[in-house]
Each structure stands twice: as structure tokens, then as C-alpha cells.
């Protein structure tokens, strides 16, 4: 029901894109978007990861998501298929065969990369996403109007929508354990990892650590740090013994991925309509829609 109405809504709002509407300054995208020099990051060394999936458990536990007991994570049959993070698991570990040694398969942890130039931030027309000073890209449920542009824009297909949640669906993705880090704790996965395959630290420092590892063990790694430059750089950085495309990393350029709203914006320029008007229109309509939805919810309750 909710699903249907939202999809309709998306369609209509795109069609009536050029019509004028009243401005509402509060809905204008206002990303914090500060790229601090001291922003944090995580270095994932896929040559160290043993695929124990304890990070998955830690993540679910830290985010109050339903989880089976920790012993069940020893089950490696899940690796038979490739999994994606979703609204029930904000991070997942996948496995790829290692052609040089079958005893050491390659495991890759997947989650939001916390891009430096996040497409989700530029795609979101109400500014529900923001890049924060500590490097995290955070979604704000109060602002979100459920347009799901972020899902389309993300080059890593990360933001997930709680399709099963009929009443108040959220966008779900790794939040860099913002609650824990604000209390000076480590992200839950980083704290849990038995082998420290994932290292938390200043992004700058991590890049140095990664470069040192490549320099000291040139046979162990390909000479590339995924996330150093991809889509304008990401907070999560990866080291690998294989070309990244071989272990299912998307082939991406070094330019930031365009947000969906930017694309629309450019289209609008062709018709000589100032983008602010579009923002206002889209934002205004969605805002109304959301309020209406909330209202419905209220009455239903």
C-alpha cells in the first residue's frame, strides 16, 4: 500500500517538475559537507580478513537489529551466494575463491563507504543525508521524505529501504556507529574483528599505513588502495591481493558520482528554470506528502 503510493508519487513529481510551487526554505538541501582533515576512516585489509562474520554480528547487536546467536555465524554456507547489505544487515561479508591457495579464500566486508563526495548527499533533495566532520555519512529520519533518490544515486547501492515496514519505513545503512564513536568508542565491527582486518583511524593515517603495507609486502597486495581516489575518495579504504574488479568491486572513475537531483537540475536548466524552483517544487510536494502520510498514520493509530 505504502509502497504503491510512494512510487506513484515519484512518477508524478517527476512529470510536474517544471511547474511553479511555493517555496519552503526549510526543505532546501543544506548538507553540512565539511571535509575535515581529521576525518576518520576504516582500512579493510582483505588479505587479513578470515571471513568469520563476527563483524556482521557486532553490527546487528550495536544497531538493535534482530540476530541469531553468535555461534551461528560460523556457518560458511552463506558464502555460496553473494549478499548485499540491506535493511536487516547493514554490513555483510562475501567470499571469493583464491586461485593461488584454496585454504585462503578472499573475504570482503561490504557496507557504506562513507564517501568524501557522497552521491547520496547530493541526491537527497531535502538534505536528509549529510557528510559529517568525523567522516561519517548520516541519514536523518526526521528530514527524509522517502523519495529513495539516495538508493538510485549511490554508486555502491548501499542505502536500503525498509520495504516490509508499512508504517514508517526508514532508509537503512551503515552509520559509522555514530552513536558509539561520539562516546569515544570504536565502531562495533572494528572492535569485534578478531584479526583486526579492519582498522579505524584518521583517513590520512590509514592511507599511510596502507601504502606502507603495499611497500613492505609488494607480493601480497595489488598496488592500489580502493577508496583513495574512487568517486572522489571514500572514508572506507580497501587493500587486496587481487584486482578489485575480480572481487566484485564496482568499476568506478575518480570523479564524484552525480546525485540524481543534480541530473534533474541539469535537465531543468535546459528549460531555463532555476534549480531552486525545482528543489522547492519537489521538496514542497514531498513534504506535503510526508505530512499527509504522518497524518494518516496518526489517524490509523
Amino acid at each position: 500500500m505504502a509502497k504503491q503510493s510512494r512510487r506513484d508519487f515519484l512518477k508524478t513529481s517527476a512529470i510536474i517538475g517544471s511547474a511553479a510551487a511555493g517555496l519552503s526554505s526549510s526543505t532546501k538541501a543544506a548538507p553540512k559537507n565539511v571535509l575535515s582533515e581529521d576525518r576518520m576512516g576504516v582500512l579493510v585489509d582483505t588479505t587479513v580478513c578470515i571471513g568469520c562474520r563476527k563483524c556482521e554480528w557486532a553490527c546487528k547487536t550495536a544497531h538493535n537489529l534482530a540476530t541469531d546467536p553468535i555461534e551461528t555465524y560460523e556457518d560458511r554456507t552463506v558464502f555460496k551466494e553473494q549478499r548485499r547489505p540491506n535493511d536487516k544487515a547493514l554490513t555483510v561479508v562475501n567470499e571469493y575463491p583464491n586461485t593461488t591457495s584454496d585454504k585462503f579464500p578472499i573475504n570482503v566486508k561490504v557496507q557504506c563507504m562513507h564517501c568524501d563526495k557522497p552521491a547520496c548527499v547530493s541526491a537527497c533533495i531535502v538534505g536528509a543525508f549529510s557528510k559529517n566532520e568525523n567522516g561519517s555519512v548520516i541519514w536523518d529520519g526526521d528530514k527524509c521524505i522517502g523519495c529513495r533518490y539516495c538508493m538510485v544515486a549511490c554508486p555502491f547501492q548501499i542505502p536500503a529501504f525498509e520495504f516490509e515496514e508499512a508504517l514508517k519505513p526508514d532508509i537503512k545503512k551503515c552509520d559509522f556507529c555514530i552513536e558509539r564513536t561520539s562516546k569515544d568508542k570504536l565502531p562495533a565491527c572494528v572492535e569485534m574483528c578478531p584479526v583486526e582486518a579492519i582498522t579505524y583511524g584518521r583517513r590520512e593515517d590509514l592511507l599511510k599505513v596502507a601504502k606502507d603495507r603495499i611497500k613492505n609486502y609488494p607480493h601480497r597486495y595489488v598496488n592500489r588502495i580502493f577508496g583513495e581516489h574512487e568517486v572522489g575518495g571514500t572514508s572506507w579504504l580497501y587493500l587486496s591481493s587481487r584486482q578489485f574488479e575480480e572481487i566484485a568491486f564496482p568499476k568506478l572513475g575518480n570523479d564524484p558520482a552525480p546525485g540524481v537531483s543534480e541530473a534533474i537540475q541539469h535537465g531543468i536548466f535546459a528549460y531555463f528554470v532555476p534549480p531552486v524552483a525545482l528543489y522547492a517544487l519537489l521538496g514542497g510536494v514531498m513534504w506535503l506528502n510526508k505530512n499527509k502520510k504522518n497524518h494518516e498514520t496518526d489517524t490509523e493509530n
Binding site: E71, E74, E196, A197
Partner: protein
């Protein structure tokens, strides 16, 4: 100039001081400072120790019997832990490591002096500023999993840890006793290993281990280094050899043998017994050379051909003056003692003397040019 001098004067006492302090540990070792330190004058305040690039560091060997037998790894223990500390059978692991690369397989930074424990370098806290090396928990697990993954292919926590507060929780006391008793059983070296190879002509390679160890006195490490437990314990051993490339299969033999040519030296159609110098080369070393090591005669390392049973190569030219025939157990009679060696010995190896130069009707050893005595040295 002045400043330089000042700096020098200032640095000198520091330098001397640090030299004195390190004397005991460092001076006997003839080390290059730059092996471990990145700056010119390491001081106590700033030792500028390089992060350990394991291969390049100096290392010494200890024996497993010097090592503690069990250790409970509880330095990182917290009350909130899901898993209980590991009771680690250190001696057992040291013995296993001894069959491979020794202590340094785990103690990768292993300079002379007291053994450096993991916690001496790896920090207890994961939230730290020096990210160049893993924290203690990471370091332990990385080290353990490296072998355990090969060993069992599994990464289950509970193969080493008890789970805190669960029904499965095991008392650490019995586990401690068990770990203390565990030793790796003595490895009995094989005498002869027969390999069935896919080679059409010369299917069988008889590897005589005893020959290589005793007769050729080859050090164990020459062939056995950096071995994993799997070498003996792998489930599908024959298959694993079959899967390897030709070069890979011969890699250890190729240390000494030319495996690219001379296939038939080792690849035969039947099992070959232990090495016999006489049958293999025609020169019997059993009589006079049995106690010598191979390299007394085969001086060039790894090269065995070319001596052609020519005594003069090692002994120089023998003449009737410089050779005491008595040494052979045969004392020449007066007539024969006057002859040149070559009058009777026409082979280079002096093995089969001939009488034909003078006597038509005599042959050795039926007839003897003197009398037999007890061999002297």
C-alpha cells in the same frame, strides 16, 4: 659552521651515552644500526625503531625446551568478553614450529636476548594512534589463524576459546593440565620413500632419506624449512603432489641435482637401494675412503662428476719414493720395490695391477709381488 660544531658537541655526549648503554646488548652482535633504527643517532628518548619488516631483521634460535609449556593468554581479558581466554599449549606449538621455521614463525621480531613476547610490541588497546602494527588481539589472531586456516580450513572461535557463561563453558583447570602434557610425537624420519611418478620411462624414484641425512650429511633445514603441518597431516597428500607443476615437484631436489637433465639418474623402473659408490661410479670407496665425507674429494660444491677415479687428483703423483706400499697391506719384496708404480699399475685408480709387463704366466691376486701384512695407517 659554528652551529654545526655546537650541534656536534651537544650530540656527542648523547651518542657516547647511548653507545655505552647499548654496549652489552648490541656490541657483541656486529649489527648494522640501520637494520633496526631509521635515524643516525638513536637515543633512549627517540630510538627511531623501524616497524618490523620481518624478513629483514636479525634473528636467533631458541629451542622448544627453553620455552614455557603453557600460557594462558589473558592480557586482553575484559568482563564483557564473549569468549574466555585461550589456554595455549606453547611448548607443543614451539615443537611444531621447530619443524618449520622455528620460533620466528611467530616471534617474527626475534633479536638476541630475551625472547620478545607479543605484548611487548603490540598494544593492548585497539583505539590507538600508532596504527602501523595490529593491536594485541589482532596480532594473536592473525598469527594463529595463519596456520589454523590451513590446518582445518575453519575459523571457529570455539576450537580455541570457551564461551563465557554458556553451557559449553569448560573449566580451565583440566584444560591447563591437558595442554601441559601435550607434546608433538617424535617424528621418525623415513629410510626410503618410493615415489610413483607419471613419467613413462622411469616411473619410480627411490628417495633414500637415510643416505641424504647420514651419508651425504645434508642439514635437515636444507630441505625442510618453512614447512606447514599440512606437509604431513594433509588429508589428500598424494593428490596435492600430483597437482603441482613439474618445476614445483622438483624444487627441493633441484637444490643439489640437475633435474632439468639427467632424469634417469633418479627416475628408474625399479626401486633402488641405498647409495653405493662402487656400483654407482665404479670406484669402491669402502676399502680406503669409507670414513671420509663426500666433500673431502668432491671439493667443488654440488659437483660430483669429473674425478674419474683418478687418485692423483687428490693425492698428487705417487712415485716409488713417496709411496709406502706397506700401507696397502702388501709389503713388496726387494725386486718389486725397485719398480716404478706404473710398471704394474696402469689404471689411474691403481686397482688392478698387471704382471704382464714381465711375467707371462702370472696374475694378480693369485700371485703376489711380496707378502701380505696387517694394514697399517
Amino acid at each position: 659552521m659554528k652551529t654545526k660544531l655546537l650541534i656536534f658537541l651537544f650530540a656527542l655526549p648523547l651518542f657516547v651515552f647511548s653507545q655505552n648503554k647499548v654496549e652489552k646488548l648490541h656490541q657483541t652482535q656486529a649489527l648494522n644500526c640501520k637494520t633496526c633504527h631509521s635515524c643516525d643517532i638513536p637515543t633512549k628518548e627517540n630510538p627511531c625503531i623501524k616497524p618490523c619488516p620481518r624478513e629483514r631483521l636479525i634473528t636467533i634460535e631458541q629451542t622448544p625446551s627453553d620455552a614455557p609449556s603453557i600460557l594462558t593468554i589473558d592480557k586482553m581479558k575484559k568482563t564483557s568478553d564473549i569468549y574466555a581466554p585461550v589456554v595455549f599449549s606453547h611448548r607443543l606449538h614451539a615443537e611444531m614450529a621447530d619443524m618449520g621455521g622455528g620460533c620466528r614463525m611467530c616471534h617474527h621480531y626475534n633479536p638476541p636476548g630475551e625472547v620478545v613476547g607479543c605484548a611487548d610490541c603490540h598494544e593492548l588497546t585497539r583505539k590507538r594512534t600508532d596504527l602501523s602494527k595490529p593491536d594485541l588481539k589482532g596480532a594473536y589472531h592473525q598469527q594463529c589463524m595463519n596456520c589454523h586456516r590451513q590446518w582445518s580450513g575453519k575459523v571457529e572461535c570455539e576450537s580455541c576459546h570457551a564461551q563465557n557463561g554458556s553451557a559449553k563453558k569448560t573449566e580451565s583447570k583440566p584444560k591447563t593440565d591437558l595442554a601441559a602434557k601435550q607434546v608433538h610425537q617424535k617424528v621418525n624420519p623415513p629410510e626410503l620413500v618410493k615415489y610413483d611418478t607419471p613419467k613413462a620411462n622411469g616411473k619410480i624414484v627411490s628417495f633414500n632419506h637415510t643416505d641424504h641425512v647420514s651419508t651425504f650429511s645434508i642439514d635437515c633445514e636444507k630441505c625442510h624449512s618453512n614447512e606447514s603441518c599440512n606437509k604431513c597431516h594433509a588429508k589428500y597428500k598424494p593428490a596435492s603432489l600430483a597437482n603441482r607443476s613439474v618445476a614445483d615437484k622438483h624444487v627441493i631436489c633441484a637444490n643439489c641435482h640437475n633435474t632439468k637433465a639427467n632424469c634417469s639418474d633418479c627416475h628408474k623402473n625399479s626401486v633402488v637401494g641405498s647409495f653405493n659408490h662402487k656400483t654407482r661410479t665404479g670406484f669402491d670407496i669402502a676399502k680406503n675412503h669409507a670414513k671420509l665425507t663426500c666433500n673431502r674429494c668432491h671439493v667443488e660444491k654440488g659437483k660430483f662428476a669429473g674425478l674419474k677415479a683418478d687418485c692423483s687428483i687428490c693425492h698428487g703423483t705417487w712415485t716409488k719414493e713417496n709411496f709406502k706400499h706397506l700401507i696397502t697391506g702388501l709389503q713388496l719384496d726387494e725386486t718389486h720395490a725397485d719398480f716404478e708404480c706404473t710398471d704394474c699399475h696402469q689404471d689411474k685408480n691403481y686397482a688392478n695391477p698387471t704382471c704382464k709387463n714381465c711375467h707371462e704366466d702370472k696374475t694378480y691376486p693369485k700371485d703376489k709381488p711380496g707378502k701380505l701384512v696387517k694394514k697399517s695407517k
